[in-house]
């Protein structure tokens, strides 16, 4: 922020000087002049820029010291002196707010002033001027906002509401609420961040404005009261600690209201969320509660610091319905295929070179269009990151822990559909980190760590994949406890000591939770196994690193989009299947000597030093007419996790990117098949789900073990 805009105008400063001079001349008995000077000081408050909330509080204290209807007897001359020096300190601060320790000078003088007012020993260090004290000293409570809010108009839809407009409004409101939430999390860390404060106020204001346009009087009233209360609090205290927490709850209440509105479009009765008035009341009564504003809140203090700053620089955007976007992307996908068919046609190829050139040119445009279409669905992870920070904050509050959250790379983009699918596993990981990873503050300090744990979420894009890593600096995975649990559950034989990597891998086993207590937060016996399964379903993988006493990092790797799968097209008999390239290790044609059987039926193949189970894909998928002789066909080694096997296929037809589509109703869920794609000739090809194929193979050949 440029300092020029903060600098208080010369006229106001000279008014300060006038008042200072008058206070210096003031005699103790001259109550009339004192009253006039008090009015003058109060008048200054209105002229000081609104963002100088701190200065306004001090000026209130000056005014209070000059109150003519309260005589503090022998202390009054000292009080005049204190008021004078406080007024001068405020002036110095306003003249150049950036200069050094002027704010602390103000605080020191406030302390003296309050000490005199309360007849306390001079400037006891315990006497930290609390804004709540100042307000309590100086003000009669304004007419209760809550009393006003209690008579709010009912939340009702006007009869002529345009439902689609209402839907747009709800979407927009959710966005405002989300950005305000992010800004509040920033404010918890940086209470002076004016821009973030503006974002919060703007959210309430904008919702109020649009709601007014839609004649949603109940909502207008709520947003208005939220805005005005927050505004009042902010001008006194800034968005410190408890106010931010309450503001978050006010936002939640507003979000619930909008949710109910959204649901009412589908005919749900329009109910009022409870709790909104409660939050308002707490906001109003915040001063009445002892010690709240000064006490350091437990819980995370952090959030992304740059997010709100970027909001203002955001490019313009248009709102498009998702189904239209999907339809567009689908149509472009079809165009790619249709174009491919034309390009393959001999009539357009070697017979007519001129036409071939035009077709090739069209092909380039089609590919560009395809890339752009895919780009349309990419959205930044920011929304998810904000939710996670909020979750971490709330969980830590509940668990009585302190956590500093940092987010890195929140603008990393991912397919919209993927964003929703990675959010759940990430939330689970955050829960685990707060609940099991990060220690309570005293335990941390006993180990020589800072009381506040740190939780870092880092997202990057790498080689067509998005990598999201969640790190905490907690106690790390407790290997002895994992082993104990795993033995109790029969996952590890007694006496067997797994390698460190295997040990960490055990936490992905179903039902293995090492939490000492089952809380409502986590520890329900489902955990990392679900995370891994969800991520594998996205063709991604989960890795874990953990150092005892130093923390844990869990890394998710998922493809940018589920819509496009990079695949190898293989032929099996008359059928063609797509094997995701991420699962393909190597393909080879074996010698007869490399093939052998185990127990007369389990077929195996040796590849260099590995021995792999041989899986006849055509038998697994019940395809006729496929080659039976591996030495005349091809073995494709596929892997998922640590498991591998060699699939017998007739031939590899090529590598291509395909648009993955779900196989819907009718075929239901088909084991071994993750989806379908339109191939170049317009027919449908099925995409193999390699982990499931491995499972099917293991069940078909129970006496063979998948070997690494």
């Amino acid at each position: 922020m440029p300092s020029a805009s903060r600098r208080t105008s010369r006229a106001i400063l000279s008014r300060f000087d006038e008042l200072s001079a008058a206070i210096g001349r003031l005699s103790v008995s001259d109550l009339e002049t004192r009253g006039a000077l008090r009015t003058g000081v109060l008048g200054l408050i209105d002229r000081v820029p609104a963002k100088e909330a701190r200065a306004c509080v001090s000026l209130r204290l000056v005014a209070e010291a000059l109150r003519p209807d309260r005589d503090r007897g022998q202390r009054q001359p000292a009080l005049h002196q204190a008021a004078l020096s406080l007024l001068e300190a405020v002036r110095a601060y306003l003249a150049s707010p950036k200069a050094g320790d002027r704010l602390s000078a103000i605080e020191g003088r406030e302390r003296s002033t309050i000490a005199i007012m309360r007849n306390l020993p001079e400037a006891s260090p315990a006497l930290k001027p609390r804004t709540s004290d100042l307000i309590g000293l100086t003000e009669r409570r304004p007419r209760s906002v809550v009393a006003r809010a209690e008579s709010l108009p009912a939340l009702a839809l006007p009869n002529d509401t345009d439902r689609s407009l209402l839907g747009d409004f709800c979407d927009e409101a959710f966005e405002y609420i989300e950005s305000a939430e992010a800004a509040l999390l920033v404010l918890e860390r940086e209470p002076d961040n004016g821009e973030a404060a503006q974002t919060v106020m703007r959210a309430f204001h904008s919702i109020k404005g649009t709601a007014g346009f839609l004649k949603l009087d109940g909502l207008v009233a709520r947003a208005h009261h939220g805005e005005s209360l927050l505004g009042e609090r902010r001008s006194r205290d800034g968005f410190a600690g408890r106010i931010a927490a309450l503001s978050l709850r006010a936002l939640d209440a507003l979000r619930d209201t909008v949710k109910n509105l959204d649901a009412s479009r589908d005919g749900e009765p329009l109910a009022y969320p409870s709790g909104f008035l409660g939050v308002l009341r707490e906001l109003e009564d915040i001063d009445a509660e002892p010690g709240t504003s000064a006490a350091g809140p437990t819980g995370p203090r952090g959030a992304t610091s740059a997010s709100t700053a970027r909001d203002s620089g955001a490019t313009h955007s248009a709102r498009v319905r998702l189904d239209r976007l999907d339809a567009l992307v689908d149509a472009v996908g079809e165009l790619v295929v249709a174009h491919w068919m034309i390009a393959q046609d001999p009539a357009a190829g070697r017979d007519h070179p001129e036409l071939a050139r035009k077709v090739a040119h069209a092909g380039k445009l089609v590919r560009d269009l395809h890339d752009m279409g895919m780009g349309l669905r990419m959205v930044p992870l920011r929304g998810t990151c904000n939710k996670l920070v909020r979750l971490a904050r709330d969980l830590a509050h509940r668990a009585g822990k302190q956590v500093d959250c940092r987010v890195d790379g929140e603008m990393t983009e991912l397919d919209r559909n993927m964003v929703e699918l990675v959010a759940d596993p990430l939330m689970h990981m955050v829960r685990n980190a707060i609940d099991h990873g990060i220690e309570p503050p005293d335990e941390r300090q006993a180990h020589g760590k800072p009381a506040a744990g740190s939780l870092t979420l880092r997202a990057t894009q790498m080689n067509g994949q998005v990598v999201v890593a969640l790190s905490d600096d907690g106690r790390g995975l407790q290997r002895d406890r994992i082993l104990e649990r795993a033995r109790a559950r029969g996952l590890v034989h007694p006496g067997e000591v797994p390698s460190d990597a295997d040990m960490l891998d055990l936490i992905f086993a179903p039902g293995l939770s090492t939490a000492e207590q089952v809380t409502d937060v986590s520890g329900r016996g489902v955990g990392m196994d679900v995370v891994r399964r969800n991520i594998q379903a996205l063709h991604g993988r989960v890795d874990i690193q953990s150092t005892p006493g130093q923390g844990t990092t869990i890394t998710l790797r998922v493809p940018l989009t589920l819509a496009i799968t990079d695949g190898m097209l293989v032929r099996v008999g008359d059928e063609r299947y797509i094997v995701p390239t991420t699962n393909v290790v190597v393909s080879f044609r074996p010698d007869r000597g490399a093939l052998f059987t185990v127990g007369g039926r389990g077929e195996m193949v040796r590849l260099r030093h590995d021995v792999l189970p041989l899986v006849r894909l055509h038998r697994l998928l019940d395809v006729d007419g496929a080659s039976e002789d591996p030495t005349a066909a091809l073995l494709m080694v596929v892997g998922a996790g640590d498991r591998r096997c060699a699939l017998l296929v007739d031939a590899i037809l090529g590598q291509q990117q395909v648009v993955a589509k779900p196989v819907t109703a009718g075929a239901g869920h088909v084991p071994g098949i993750s989806g379908a794609a339109i191939l170049g000739d317009g027919r449908v090809g099925l995409i193999l789900d390699v982990p499931q194929v491995l499972d099917l193979a293991r069940r078909a050949q129970p006496n063979t073990q998948a070997v690494a």
């Binding site: 998928l621 819907t664 009718g666 075929a667 098949i673 339109i678």
Partner: protein
């Protein structure tokens, strides 16, 4: 539940004429190349590419335990909307759109144990014709289909 009067699309499976409510019909297309889907019940023919959308094709002959035949020149796929998705039904021949009056509809007779008739919701008799009226949502019972495949099982953690 008895079939409601109204417009019905009628079609043939062998010599039998069936009817389904026209509102359920999305479109009628010729037979496109069908990709077989492994490990599905026999009446699931496979999937086709319907203008970029992958939809499943059910063979109504197999579904109703009629002798299976390969699609011929009059064979059609009736695309219907059911259970929030589109499904194609392979039939021998599409006949007509018939207006069926309430007075023509009779309750289906009980057909003895072992014959599955819950999707048969009425019999329409007119002039010399008998049409079997189907509740298409019951023909395409999503839950039934999902359970009909071999147990997929939950993938175990590696």
């Amino acid at each position: 539940m008895t079939a409601a009067p109204g417009k019905y699309l009628t079609f043939f499976l062998g010599a039998e004429e069936y009817g389904m409510e026209i509102l359920a019909v999305h479109e009628i297309i010729g037979v496109l190349p069908i990709t077989r889907v492994p490990r599905t019940p026999p009446f699931v023919r496979g999937v086709i590419n319907l203008r970029g959308r992958v939809i499943s094709i059910l063979d109504l002959r197999r579904k109703f335990d009629l002798p299976a035949v390969e699609p011929g020149p009059t064979s059609c796929i009736i695309v219907v909307a059911a259970h929030a998705a589109h499904v194609g039904l392979l039939v021998d021949r599409v006949s007509e759109v018939a207006d069926i009056a309430a007075g023509d509809i009779e309750q289906p007779p009980p057909l003895g144990a072992g014959v599955q008739t819950d999707y048969l919701v009425g019999i329409a008799k007119s002039a010399a014709r008998v049409r079997l009226l189907l509740d298409i949502a019951r023909v395409i019972d999503a839950g039934d289909l999902a359970a009909a495949g071999p147990d997929g099982g939950a993938p175990t953690a590696a």
